[in-house]
Symmetry: C2
Subunit: 180 residues, 2 copies
Amino acid sequence: MRASVFVGTSLDGFIAREDGSLDFLPEGGGEPHGYDEFYASVDAVVVGRNTFDTVMTFDAWPYGATPVIVLSGRPLPPLPAGAVVERMTGEPPAIAAELAQRGVKHAYVDGGVTIQSFVRAGLIDRIIVTRVPVLIGKGIPLFGAVDGDVELRHVSTRSFPGGLVQSEYEVVRRMERRVK
Amino acid sequence: MRASVFVGTSLDGFIAREDGSLDFLPEGGGEPHGYDEFYASVDAVVVGRNTFDTVMTFDAWPYGATPVIVLSGRPLPPLPAGAVVERMTGEPPAIAAELAQRGVKHAYVDGGVTIQSFVRAGLIDRIIVTRVPVLIGKGIPLFGAVDGDVELRHVSTRSFPGGLVQSEYEVVRRMERRVK
């Protein structure tokens, strides 16, 4: 199974404000920047509870019929019609193994805590980050602590007329992981 | 006077490790990415004490004969031959006013604390950030707290074969500053 991150951040690296709000991102996602194409390539979504709770405040369920795994220790509220959601608990390697066992080929991992824990566990293959030209000073950071440097390979970068800059990176597995 | 930032960071936004070391940056600055051209356009350098102390550990003085202003409350050590260095103390607006009064046209502002305080004071006109494809997890961040969102205008982005991605932004003065 491959796992990817596709996320928008402020130039100073925040994916949301401290209260989870996304008001600094361009409305409706801004100019098209490949999200639909990316989303069409995934067959499961893995999000943390904070992201799920933010998504539940949206007017429409954004995940269509794609299965969504919510990592949370607490029961979920009633879900919108058509939403395919399952709650799981556990460490990233166990979650990834379970999804792979179910035949998931490409997981979309989202949310600050969840992205960080999957990156730290060496389970993210690709990171596509789209930067919005604003500094917000504080918030929920995209990246967090890692156990030693994580080497990446730059795949491509493109910028958009409205000011978005999108870079795609492949995670280079560290030697200690590669030899396992 | 214009003031610019030209800086390399890890993908997770750090300009140095916690101890000031820069070992995650490509050796010798990596492939040419416009630093020499940028440096030729500045007529003063403003750095904080931490950056100055790191620079003093380098084999060669990197600033040539360009005047360097070190923001520090402590006396400076003996300087390399040919270095033009002056210590100043004070808030960013006073420093900027003093430099402008001396006829400085384009200042290069460097160092985490110094960049952050000049950004917060609305004194930075241009930010050129070059990202290295690595996550280091912790260190000295490029950006810090701001008093309200700082809106930027994306000028241009280019990537380099070795994996560096460089984006240039212009700071859009906030309305409350513009009308003062």
